[in-house]
Each structure stands twice: as structure tokens, then as C-alpha cells.
């Protein structure tokens, strides 16, 4: 008996590891051939329509630049734009394989077509699912039993991959019932369970922040400092989840039960219990009169007239694409103009287009990616001299320089250490390595938590990690499989060797100064000595600010 228990204890960790492997392997979706995009996937009508919204966004910005008396930065070159898009949409730098294909594509609309290609890549859906999970279910680990983060990721990835309308995705998360493994969307509500207790306040706060861009949760204890949120409004919102029932059979509602328990909260002053009726903080007419409370809440949140919903997702996607949301902090937006949509307000402008096109996330991303403001360079003469740097930044006249997320840094290092694209077609061992190493790396690099869209400078532990860690040793190492090894061994000459290293790591060709310094190091080297020079160069490029910052 005792032995048996010892055995179980001993193999338990192995079972967990095996389980995760199965999980990773099951993520091996049907291989998709990586092909060169031939034509745009949209219909002609849609494309013309899109041009008009992109045009209107462009005009909004040129007006602002004109007003500020500023010249915007020049359009960035296509390779830099390609890197920018790849980091934003796929979470890594492009592979050498992809760069070569891209460079051989000479047509003028290649960026648009490659953007479409990325959006249909499974890597996009998976990467975005993880970014969204941060604010949907939080960054903390959560309860293992009732909250299955991995299942939630996979589910959300599927929704993004199929481009399911965003309002439908949100309604599922708020209102669906079932078991967290079988209906992974219910993990949105299950994530707030701690030691068997449902934290209704957390759920209400998250609903308002994640879906409506409103920080109503500070009204939990006091009224909002500048917006008009009152404690009673918050309590009513929390009560919308009051009939939620989470048990061994999954997430359900008590509404059907005759003797449904009242939703009570303890008054902070009198310490007496008060019963709270479900209520929404504004426009109660958007909430249907019948149905289960969560379903009614979901309908209200995503109601076509609820512009906060559109504005919140636009600000969020803008933040993910520029590394900096249009309005900071990302989930505390000013109230929309009650009189109606304001075409001079960027969030309203893009939000209206988003809503009138069926809450299509990929279209939203394509629109922003096509704007001039997304495609300008991060270089601007004001950053070198003069006193205009502040206004250039305020008016988005140059692309913002933002610190890559830890997932992007490790994704890029791993991609750069391989010549071939690391994606769902890669061997499962490579994907498993990526899965586990990424978790370790993110922990050491410093997880940004839910609050990931604030601007930050680098830190010493990060510098040490990039310079001296096992990760750094492993991915700069020259072996027969690694990029460093293959480039050192196979590049026809020094020039090609240097050029390839730069392409793999920085997605650009070296400058003349760089050539003149680094070519000397390669000159006349053979075998091991040459491998070392290439390893050193990989190390250099991984530690360059250009590698670690989106630009």
C-alpha cells in the first residue's frame, strides 16, 4: 500500500509532463504549407470600402501633423515594415526562409498581401490568443482544477483563426455554460474562483475593463476619481454574476432554480448584508428584459449602440500593434460623446467601421496596418536634435520605440537560431522546446502581468539574461542544426556570411560601417575560429537595442 503510494508520488510529475507533451503534440494542427501569398483574400467591394476608412484615418493624422507644424517621419522601408508586422502579428522576427521569399516578391502591394498571409497563419491566432488571455483571464496562474488556461488559449486561438465576430466571442465568454475543459470559454468566469469562492467583484471589474475600457472597479470602495462611476453601479454590475454557480459539473446559472439564493454583499460601513439586484451602470434599455442574467449582461455589453465596446477593442488592438495604446491606460477610456459618433475621434472613427463590418478583428488589424501612421519610420530628425521630440511623440509622427515583450524576445531568439520558419509545421520537439523554454524565459525576463502596455525601460537582470544565460549560450551556439553553424559553414564568402547573420537577427542588411568593422573579424578564418566569430556576432545582434525594441 505504502509502496504503491510512493510510486504514485514518484510518477506524478512525470504524468504531468507527459500530459503537457500530449497537449503540445495535440496542438500540432494540420500542417499548412507555407506558401507565397498570390492574391488578396478580400473581395473588390470590401477592399474599396477599406481604402476609404484607411484614407479617413490618414487624413485625421495629416491634419494633426499640419496643426502641430510637423513633418511626419518618412515611410519606413519594406523589410523593416515586414519585421514590424511579423513581431506584432506572429510574435517573432521573420525567418530567413520568409525573408528570402519576401525579397523575391517584387510587386508593389506585397506588404498588403503578406499582411493577409500572416493573418491567416495559425501563429497569428495562437499569439493573439495569448495576448488577449492576459486581460481576459489575468496573468496569474489561477486554480488548476476549475481554470484551464491552456484550454482557454486553444479555444480563443480557434476563434481568432476562424475570424469569428468579436461580439460573439465575448458573448460566449460572459454567458456560456458548461465544463471548463469541454467549453473552454467558461474559463473567463472560472478564472475568478479562489478556494471555491467566486469573486464577483473581480468578474465585474474585468468585464468593464476588458470589454468596455472602463475602470469601474475602483468604485468598489470609493467613487471613481474623474469619471462618474458610483459604488452602487459597480455593485449592480457584480450582481449580474450573482446567480453564477460553479461546481464539479461546470459553470451554470441558478436562475432556473425556484429557491435561487439572493445576491448579498456586506456593507463596508454597517457590516450588514444587503441584497443587490442585477443592474448595468448605464443605458439599461440595452439590456433585454428576459433570459438568464449573464445572457442579458452579454447582450448589453455587446449591444450595437454600446460604443464603449467598439472603442475598447480598437484601443486595445492599436496598443498591440504600436506597443502603445491610443489612450493610456488602455482600459480607462474617456466616456464617448453621448450625442453620437465623433468622426474626429480616432476610436469612434475606427470603431464605427469595426461595428458596421460585423466586428471583424482581422479587418480591423488590416485597416490599421494599412495606415500611413503605422508605416512611418521610427527615425525622425527631431529625435537627434532640437526640442520637437515631445510633439513628434504626441502626434505619432514617428513609429514609437517600445520594448519587446518577453515572449517576443524569446520567440525572436529561437526563430533567429533556426534558418527555417518555426511554426506548426516544425517538428514537435522544436515546438515543445519553444513551449517550455518560453515559460522559463518569461519568468526570468520579468512578466509584465496584465499591465503590459505601459512604456518601460530595460533592466539589469534582463541585460544579464540576454548576455550570460543558458538561453543565450544555446541560441548563439554554432552547431550543424543552428543558424549560426549553418551560416558559418555554408555561406559562400565573408560578405554573404555577414549579410545573412544580419538578416536572420535584425531583418536588415548591414551598413557600410558595420561591414568595415565586422568583415575584418571574419577575414581568413576557417572552421572553429570562423564558427566563433559567427557565434560572437549572433550574441552581438541579440544584445543590440535594435533586436530588443520594436521600431
Amino acid at each position: 500500500m505504502n509502496n504503491c503510494r510512493t510510486l504514485v508520488t514518484a510518477i506524478a510529475p512525470l504524468l504531468v509532463v507527459a500530459g503537457v507533451f500530449v497537449l503540445v503534440a495535440s496542438a500540432a494542427r494540420s500542417p499548412i504549407r507555407s506558401i507565397r501569398p498570390e492574391k488578396a483574400t478580400e473581395s473588390v467591394v470590401d477592399s474599396a470600402d477599406r481604402e476609404s476608412i484607411v484614407h479617413r484615418i490618414d487624413r485625421l493624422f495629416s491634419d494633426r501633423w499640419h496643426e502641430a507644424g510637423l513633418e511626419p517621419a518618412v515611410p519606413t522601408d519594406d523589410l523593416t515594415l515586414y519585421r514590424r508586422l511579423s513581431l506584432v502579428l506572429l510574435g517573432t522576427v521573420p525567418s530567413l526562409e520568409e525573408i528570402r521569399l519576401f525579397e523575391s516578391d517584387g510587386s508593389p502591394d506585397r506588404i498588403d498581401r503578406w499582411t493577409d498571409q500572416m493573418l491567416s497563419d495559425r501563429r497569428f491566432a495562437d499569439y493573439f490568443a495569448r495576448r488577449f488571455s492576459r486581460f481576459f483571464v489575468g496573468a496569474d496562474e489561477g486554480q488548476f482544477v476549475v481554470f484551464r488556461r491552456d484550454r482557454f488559449w486553444a479555444w480563443l486561438g480557434n476563434q481568432f483563426h476562424e475570424n469569428r465576430p468579436y461580439d460573439e466571442i465575448v458573448r460566449s465568454m460572459i454567458a456560456d455554460r458548461g465544463l471548463w475543459t469541454d467549453k473552454p470559454q467558461v474559463n473567463f468566469v472560472a478564472a475568478v474562483v479562489t478556494e471555491g469562492v467566486i469573486d464577483h467583484n473581480k468578474l465585474a471589474g474585468r468585464t468593464a475593463r476588458a470589454f468596455l475600457g472602463q475602470r469601474i472597479d475602483c468604485a468598489q470602495c470609493h467613487n471613481h476619481p474623474f469619471a462618474d462611476w458610483k459604488q452602487a453601479q459597480f455593485e449592480g454590475l457584480a450582481a449580474c454574476y450573482g446567480q453564477l454557480n460553479i461546481s464539479g459539473v461546470g459553470v451554470e446559472d441558478n436562475n432556473d432554480k425556484k429557491d435561487k439564493p439572493p445576491y448579498l454583499i456586506q456593507d463596508r460601513l454597517t457590516l450588514q448584508d444587503r441584497e443587490i439586484e442585477p443592474a448595468v451602470p448605464f443605458h439599461p434599455e440595452w439590456m433585454p428584459g428576459t433570459g438568464k442574467t449573464r445572457g442579458r449582461l452579454a447582450a448589453w455589453v455587446t449591444h450595437p449602440d454600446n460604443r464603449r465596446f467598439d472603442r475598447a477593442i480598437v484601443n486595445r488592438i492599436w496598443g498591440l500593434m504600436f506597443g502603445r495604446p491610443w489612450i493610456q491606460p488602455v482600459d480607462d477610456l474617456p466616456n464617448p460623446n453621448e450625442a453620437g459618433s465623433d468622426t474626429n475621434d480616432l476610436l469612434d472613427l475606427i470603431g464605427a467601421d469595426f461595428r458596421s463590418h460585423g466586428c471583424d478583428l482581422k479587418r480591423l488589424i488590416r485597416n490599421i496596418a494599412a495606415t500611413r501612421v503605422f508605416r512611418v519610420s521610427s527615425q525622425h530628425s527631431a529625435f537627434d536634435e532640437g526640442d520637437k521630440a515631445g510633439s513628434v511623440e504626441e502626434t505619432w509622427a514617428a513609429f514609437p520605440l517600445t520594448r519587446l515583450r518577453p515572449e517576443q524576445v524569446i520567440g525572436s531568439m529561437l526563430q533567429a537560431s533556426s534558418i527555417k520558419t518555426v511554426d506548426q509545421n516544425s517538428h514537435w520537439t522544436i515546438r515543445a522546446v519553444r513551449f517550455f523554454r518560453e515559460l522559463d524565459f518569461v519568468k526570468e525576463y520579468g512578466d509584465l502581468g496584465d499591465d503590459e502596455l505601459t512604456e518601460r525601460a530595460g533592466t539589469i537582470p534582463q541585460a544579464l539574461l540576454r548576455m550570460n544565460s543558458n538561453f543565450a549560450a544555446e541560441w548563439t551556439k554554432s552547431t550543424i542544426f543552428s543558424a549560426a553553424g549553418r551560416i558559418a559553414g555554408m555561406a559562400p564568402d565573408d560578405d554573404a556570411c555577414l549579410d545573412t547573420c544580419f538578416l536572420v537577427c535584425l531583418t536588415r542588411h548591414p551598413t557600410r560601417e558595420e561591414r568595415s568593422v565586422i568583415l575584418k573579424q571574419l577575414e581568413g578564418t576557417k572552421k572553429d575560429e570562423r564558427s566563433q566569430v559567427v557565434e560572437d556576432l549572433f550574441w552581438t545582434l541579440f544584445n543590440a537595442p535594435e533586436f530588443c525594441w520594436e521600431h
Binding site: R215, D217, C218, P225, Q328, P329, D332, S377, S378, Q379, H380, S381, A382, F383, D384, A389, G390, L401, R403, E444, G446, D451, E455, R456, A457, G458, T459, I460, P461, Q462, A463, L464, L465, M467, N468, S469, A472, A473, L506, T511, E513, E514, V517, I518, Q521, Q532, V533, D536, L537, W539, T540, L541, N543, A544, P545, E546, C548, W549, H551
Partner: protein, 418 residues
């Protein structure tokens, strides 16, 4: 820029050290380690009791009452003061510190309360306040220290953060005290390292074009330089304890917390400004007495040895020591024999660094009826006292990145401690 102007500060520090203006910056003397007594630049050490230590099983016992639990009390070196019998060694050192039995806060959740007890402010959604240790290194940089100036030892759940001052004022974390820390050794020999760095400066230069101001703001090169300085520093030795006598190591306790306290003393000797050593596991919602007693077995010898060691080396005069967690525990014992979270009238220890000693402040109701303690002490006032004693302008107003002016500390120093 509206944000804190750090590059200017760095420049001043650099100027001060190259021009020999050592009077311009406190604590620049390279021989800081040899100075003793009140002449030394001050350090601030927090012993963090994660989860919330029970005041009733430590510094504020009420044996034999309805709320007292299974605790007995013992005499201490402060006349008339008795503490829980779980801390016999600390009882012998207590006259070096003050006991506060009336700490009050409004936060009863671990994360929120840890924030409050690190920063002196309640959490706000739009702004992250810096911890007191971060403010200290921001205001009192020590140019002679090549290792991080704020070190957190142990596996704290909520380590102190730089908040709006910036991530580089976060505490540097040592997860396994006694070990040097992660990723300290260069991967290659000096020749290759030089080659790497030479290429790096060329590649960085190209990136600077058209982005100079922005790239400088990233502090990328600054962090690399600081990391390189640290990698080759003699001061790294302060992180290891092999050279310490066996008996002393045993007295601190051969466990991560004991080692953490010993490393903290070594770091103080090289001039590290802010430190936190954390001990987790005080969150005793069930079987409170057993839980608190088991933590005390680790805390008592380490704390007592640390205080004695600091006194023996004449370092306590220059080291402010604060022993606290995020809150205390309820007077009532729940059906599981546990005590729950209690931010109204919990205890902490404070002393050293020229603060008063031997004081006992505040009183809680032995019957557990009155919710508020007598002579309540607010967290912000406690921190104003500590900052004042460190020599920091505690009421200084800085403009935060969101453009809102904010005082380092909203409290007032408490005269009795000064």
C-alpha cells in the same frame, strides 16, 4: 518629458564621482565598508513576513483571554514588555528595537496589503507607487556600489517595485540566498567578450541614427554597462557566505531565510542601500498556532542573530530595521483553529539607523472587542519616519509619468521615534 529625469541624475552622479565631489553625493566614499557607527551612510532593511504574521502569537500576545489561543508570554529585555514564548531569542535582543502594536491599514487582501505596506499608499488603478526601498535608492544613489542597490532575498510573492520611478528601481532578486544570483558569469573569455562588445557598439551606433533621444530613454546601453560592471565586481562576494564562520551560519539558521539574513548583513557592509529578506508562510487560516510556531522556529534565531550581529559590528546605528508583514491576524479564532486577515491593530518591529529603541507603542484590546487599537500608527507615518531618518525628503513632490504630482510619502514623521 514629464517623467522623472533620470539621465540628468546619472550625469550628476558621474560628474560628482569624476570631479571628486564626494560631498555632493552621500555615501560615495569607497571605503564605506570600513566606516562604522552613525558616520556610515544608512541602509534600510525590511524583514518581510509574507502572508501576515499573527501579532497574537508574536509581539502582542494576550494569553489566557478569549482571543489568546494557546500562547504563553515571556519577559523581554524591554522592562515590562512581554512577547509570545515562540520568540525566546528575539526577546533577548528586543531592547535594540521598538515594538509597535497598533499598526492600522485598510487593506485586507494579500496583494493590496503588500502594496500598502511596501509603498505607504493604497493601490490605485492608474498609478503604481514606488516602494520605500526604491525611493531610497532613487534619492540616495551610492556610486561606489557596483552591485544592485536594492536587493530582495527569498521568494516573496510581491517583491518591492520601482513603480512610476521605473523598473530599474525594482529590487534585484536573489531567489536562493547564498548563491551569487542568476547569469552573472560571462559566457566567453575576455578576448571574445571584447570582440562582442566592440561589434555591439557599432551596431548600436547605426540604430541611434534618427532615434538618439528615444534610444537613450530605453537605457539599453546603460543597463548593459551596469551589468558588465557588476559581472566583474569584487563586491559580488557579498552574495556568498562561504567565508562566514560555521557557528555564525548555524546561528542564523541553515535555511533560505537564515542565509538571506546573513547575506543581507554582508550586503549592508558593502553599502547596499535597500534590502528585503522575506519569509513566507504566515497565512494561517487553519491551525494558526502550529503554523505561527513553525514560522517562528525559522524567524526567531535568524532575527535575533541578525540584530546581535549588526550590533557587534557596529552596523545597527546605520541600519534601519523594519520587521513587518502585510497585515496581522484576527483576534477571533475561526472553526478551523485559524486566524484570518486583520489590518486593524497589527504589530511590527522598528529600530536601528539612529531611531529610538526600547519603546512600546500602542495597545490592542485583550478581549478583542474594540476594533481600533489605542494610539494607532498609520503606515504612511511609519514610512515618513523611515525616509526622514534615511535623509530623504519624504514629502518631495514628483511628477509621475501620467503627469500627476505625487508626494513620495503622504505621512508625517513620528516624533517619538526620532
Amino acid at each position: 518629458m514629464n517623467t522623472i529625469d533620470s539621465s540628468r541624475r546619472d550625469f550628476l552622479r558621474l560628474a560628482a564621482s569624476t570631479l571628486g565631489l564626494s560631498f555632493a553625493v552621500p555615501g560615495l566614499d569607497l571605503r564605506a565598508a570600513e566606516q562604522r557607527g552613525s558616520e556610515r551612510a544608512k541602509s534600510f532593511l525590511t524583514i518581510w513576513l509574507g502572508g501576515g504574521q499573527s501579532q497574537l502569537e508574536s509581539w502582542d500576545p494576550h494569553p489566557g483571554t478569549r482571543i489568546g489561543g494557546d500562547v504563553s508570554s515571556i519577559k523581554t529585555t524591554i522592562p515590562g514588555l512581554e512577547i509570545a514564548d515562540l520568540y525566546p531569542q528575539s526577546a533577548e535582543q528586543l531592547h535594540h528595537l521598538c515594538v509597535i502594536r497598533s499598526m492600522v491599514s485598510k487593506e485586507g487582501d494579500h496583494e493590496r496589503a503588500s502594496y500598502m505596506l511596501h509603498t505607504g499608499y493604497r493601490p490605485e488603478p492608474t498609478l503604481v507607487h514606488p516602494s520605500i526601498g526604491s525611493i531610497a535608492i532613487h534619492e540616495l544613489p551610492n556610486g561606489a556600489v557596483e552591485i544592485p542597490q536594492f536587493v530582495s532575498l527569498g521568494d516573496a510573492n510581491f517583491p518591492p517595485r520601482g513603480g512610476f520611478l521605473g523598473d530599474r528601481f525594482d529590487a534585484y532578486r536573489i531567489f536562493n540566498p547564498g548563491e551569487t544570483g542568476q547569469n552573472i558569469k560571462a559566457l566567453v573569455d575576455q578576448d571574445r567578450q571584447d570582440r562582442r562588445l566592440k561589434s555591439l557598439s557599432v551596431v548600436s551606433q547605426s540604430f541611434m541614427q534618427g532615434r538618439k533621444a528615444k534610444v537613450e530613454q530605453t537605457l539599453h546601453q546603460h543597463t548593459i554597462d551596469a551589468a558588465l560592471r557588476m559581472m566583474t565586481s569584487e563586491q559580488l562576494k557579498a552574495f556568498s557566505i562561504e567565508q562566514e564562520p560555521k557557528e555564525l551560519r548555524a546561528a542564523y539558521g541553515d535555511n533560505p531565510f537564515g542565509r538571506g539574513c546573513l547575506v543581507a548583513r554582508r550586503l549592508i557592509e558593502v553599502g547596499v542601500r535597500s534590502l528585503e529578506v522575506s519569509l513566507q508562510g504566515f497565512d494561517t487560516h487553519a491551525k494558526n498556532h502550529e503554523g505561527q510556531a513553525s514560522r517562528a522556529k525559522t524567524l526567531d534565531p535568524a532575527l535575533a542573530t541578525l540584530i546581535k550581529d549588526l550590533v557587534d559590528r557596529d552596523l545597527l546605528q546605520s541600519t534601519i530595521v523594519l520587521v513587518t508583514g502585510e497585515f496581522g491576524r484576527t483576534p477571533n479564532i475561526n472553526p478551523l483553529g485559524g486566524r484570518d486577515h486583520w489590518p486593524n491593530g497589527f504589530s511590527c518591529l522598528l529600530g536601528g539607523g539612529g531611531l529610538s529603541s526600547g519603546l512600546v507603542i500602542g495597545e490592542t484590546d485583550p478581549e478583542g472587542e474594540a476594533k481600533q487599537p489605542k494610539d494607532p500608527i498609520e503606515v504612511a507615518d511609519l514610512y515618513a519616519t523611515i525616509l526622514y531618518r534615511l535623509g530623504v525628503d519624504y514629502a518631495k513632490e514628483v511628477i509621475t509619468p501620467i503627469g500627476r504630482p505625487m508626494k513620495f510619502c503622504a505621512g508625517q514623521p513620528i516624533e517619538r521615534f526620532l
